[in-house]
């Protein structure tokens, strides 16, 4: 099977709409097809991977915990827009410490999240075969 480069763009915050949870669901399903998958968090999408989310008050599942499972699914390229973080008064320290285990490096834990400029992000996007926007 030919491998294609898939990028999932996340532009909305975790709750309030179904976009964030649906995107994550699609990512997990697509992971079964062993494609080259990456995720991008832009605009309010950066809130999806902010540490310390709590959905108790709105009676929804706190699916932000599921991002920690992405490493198990061999999804380890999560790009975050530096400009979007800055516009919201956030920094990389506010994000969940998401990691994956590198099979080729004795299963060493390595960070999955990479903060990049919008210019870098658009370059990465241009290298994809498929971009899906949520």
């Amino acid at each position: 099977m030919t491998t294609k480069k898939f990028m999932y763009l996340n532009r909305r915050s975790s709750f309030g709409t179904v976009y964030a949870i649906e995107s994550l669901e699609v990512v997990l399903i697509a992971a079964a097809f062993e494609q080259d998958v990456s995720l991008a968090f832009i605009d309010d999408g950066v809130y999806q991977i902010v540490e310390g989310q709590n959905a108790d008050g709105i009676g929804m599942k706190n699916f932000s915990k599921t991002f920690h499972a992405l490493g198990d699914y061999e999804i380890n390229k999560l790009y975050v827009s530096a400009e979007s973080l800055e516009q919201r008064g956030l920094s990389s320290n506010d994000l969940m410490p998401l990691v994956y285990e590198d099979e080729d490096d004795d299963w060493a834990e390595k960070p999955s999240v990479k903060v990049v400029s919008n210019a870098q992000l658009s370059k990465i996007m241009s290298e994809q075969d498929v971009c899906l926007s949520f």
Binding site: L28, I29, A31, F63, T66, D72
Partner: protein, 107 residues
Amino acid sequence: MADILGAEVDEEGFLVNLGDWTKEIAEQMAKDDDVDLSDEHWDVINFLRDYFEEYQIAPAVRVLTKAIAKRMGKDKGNSKYLYSLFPYGPGKQGCRFAGLPKPTGCI
């Protein structure tokens, strides 16, 4: 709606309310499938429940196999062993016994 020991299940036998799960329900589900739950079954069921608690998803079978291999050794983390415990699939049948939803991506 069908039920197992008073707990509602969907058309495929998965619990509708995850909070309804008890060990007795798991044992009844296994009995209905002609499976005797051994300690080895419980290792996997407990693993699945812990995984769900931590990540809020039922793992895909590929991920389950790898994670079991890491935690319990290669002799247990392989499809042959897991299918010998759960003939209808470690993901699908295991998750059902564990009171979890059907694994994401499981068709």
